[in-house]
């Protein structure tokens, strides 16, 4: 069985889709009065690139056995994934309005039993890479050719279970498994960059740690990129494909900006989650609408 690549999508179109996705995130969370902002926005360019430029998937047949798998291990960023799945055609964009409401298919954290296109439930951090390793191991054992992608947050890397999976993926030579790390450098409270608060060290959790070296030492193939540079992301995906057959899993260390794309949410831990006011929504719509005019209403 051979893999078919997603249709290559141009950078301008990816930018438009990412802006639309960001708008849906901030608008949906404001309407639902619940959900996360910073993480979904930092990961948006990566998510859009995966779903519109790399994953071999069919929204009309979400359970296609030959499909590539994607696991959002940082499950609190569910609304980011839902926005991209809606744009990709898994369900109507209008359904985003049901997010976090009773009876919705769009739960606060991804639920594989409910949402078309969600390959693994997630929400308790640190578990997705193990699940992805299991899928990749099964694919090899069954002789199936799909690729498994797992997106993790940098805060999530503090969970020990991640490193159990990192070890296992190398041992089982899972070159059909790729981890994408959204390195936005901020957590809900742990490490904000704030000049007016010096009670304790609030630097980036991985500052002073050579993550590239750590993964290399674990036997992984490492690619470091700017997670907002669509061309760099595209190149990284190409290199992942080239690594198949190498016996090495690949990690893409993607440097991102938390809250990327909306000026008042960028670079602050205070928008890890948050509800935009009508004025803030209007501001976000104006900012994002410049890229995808007509959709931010």
């Amino acid at each position: 069985m051979s893999r078919t690549q997603a249709t290559k999508t141009g950078t301008a179109e990816l930018q438009r889709l990412a802006a639309a996705g960001r708008w849906h995130v901030i608008k949906t969370v404001a309407d639902a009065k619940a959900g996360h902002i910073g993480g979904p926005l930092s990961a948006m360019d990566l998510l859009v690139s995966l779903y519109f430029n790399e994953l071999s998937v069919d929204p009309g047949n979400p359970q296609d056995p030959a499909r590539d798998r994607f696991i959002l291990s940082k499950g609190h960023c569910a609304i980011g994934l839902y926005s991209v799945l809606a744009l990709r055609g898994y369900f109507p964009v209008e359904e985003l309005a049901t997010f976090d409401q009773g009876g919705s298919r769009l739960q606060g954290h991804p639920d594989m039993k409910l949402t078309p296109g969600v390959d693994s439930s997630s929400g308790s951090l640190g578990q997705g890479l193990s699940a992805g390793a299991g899928m990749a191991m099964a694919a090899k054992q069954l002789g199936t050719d799909f690729h498994t992608w797992v997106m993790l947050g940098d805060g999530e890397l503090e969970e020990g279970m991640v490193w159990e999976a990192v070890h296992t993926a190398r041992r089982f030579k899972l070159d059909n498994l790729t981890a994408v790390i959204d390195l936005n450098g901020l957590q809900q409270y742990g490490w904000p960059v704030s000049e007016d608060d010096d009670r304790f060290d609030r630097s980036n959790p991985w500052s002073g740690v050579d993550l590239n070296g750590v993964f290399t030492c674990f036997g992984w193939n490492v690619i470091s990129i700017d997670g907002h540079d669509f061309d760099a992301i595209r190149d990284a995906f190409d290199r992942v494909r080239e690594q198949r057959g190498s016996g090495k899993p690949t990690v893409i260390l993607a440097k991102t900006i938390k809250g990327k794309g909306v000026s008042f949410t960028e670079g602050t831990y205070k928008w890890h989650n948050g509800i935009a006011t009508p004025e803030q929504l209007a501001s976000a719509a104006a900012e994002l609408g410049q890229v995808f005019e007509g959709e931010a209403k």
Binding site: S124, S130, A131, M135, A138, L142, E164, H167, T168, R171
Partner: protein, 310 residues
Amino acid sequence: MKAQRDVWGQTLVDLARTDSRVAVVDGDLATSTKADLFADAFPDRFFEIGIAEQNMVGVAFGLSTLGFRPWLSTFGVFLTHRALDPIRMLVSQTGAPVKIAASYSGLLNGSSGKTHQDIEDLAIMRAMPGMTVIAPADAIEAEAAIRWAADHDGPVYLRLARDAVSDIFSPGHAFTPGTVHVLREGNDALLVSTGVQSSRVMDAAALLAEEGIEARVVHVPCLKPVDEAALLSALSGPAPIFTIEEHSIIGGLGGLVSELVTSTTLGKTVTRLGLADAWSESAPNSYLLDKYGLSPARVAGQVRHALADD
């Protein structure tokens, strides 16, 4: 008379000959759990993850999404405690057909002491929505439960004991979830037990009979689901109820029976025998069974004493 662990490994080998979905995910204890029998026979479907129990659960879940029905193989304590969170999120919440083979459960774990004794597993797993919780009495019932679980399209927690106990059931016994078994009739006391403790309770009932006390012995192999009507029927009559389990008296079989009795008009008290909110210690099995009131003589003594107080 066989040990449940030997039956576990061999039964999986038998099942795997005709069922390609059967797989084993091991945590570096295959020689103890007897998963090594499976590893020798089906190395392609044996996944040695190493000493990483949370990861084991995640990998088993991942395998299950591709059609495997993986069995987790390690000591129960490392699954129900260390790997509880992935069991909850990836297995229970999704209903994945992952089978948790909790080897070396309960109090008697060689002489490893309280670190390795799992005396809270039934309470934990019973509270997990959608989890089938089975504690077979002997090797025969263990084999029947394994064969049932292999075909069950959902998660199963199977509590297995390390050492052999006297057989209660006859070869060919079939497992049906929810069923309760009245192993012995009697009107003076109602002894309710689960897992391998039922074998000791049968011995206790024989000791009581020598003193003229006839006890009904009710074995509950499946703590969830349970056929409540059948269990209530078995608990009916004037005799006082005792629950006896190799487990904490909190939340396990004693909890189940107490909840059931107090939610009906049965109007009876339940005396719960087991570990009374206490940690155990390293010691020979006979010492531990006596100390915690689970040996046949100590069970009989506690029942006799309680009846005398009435």
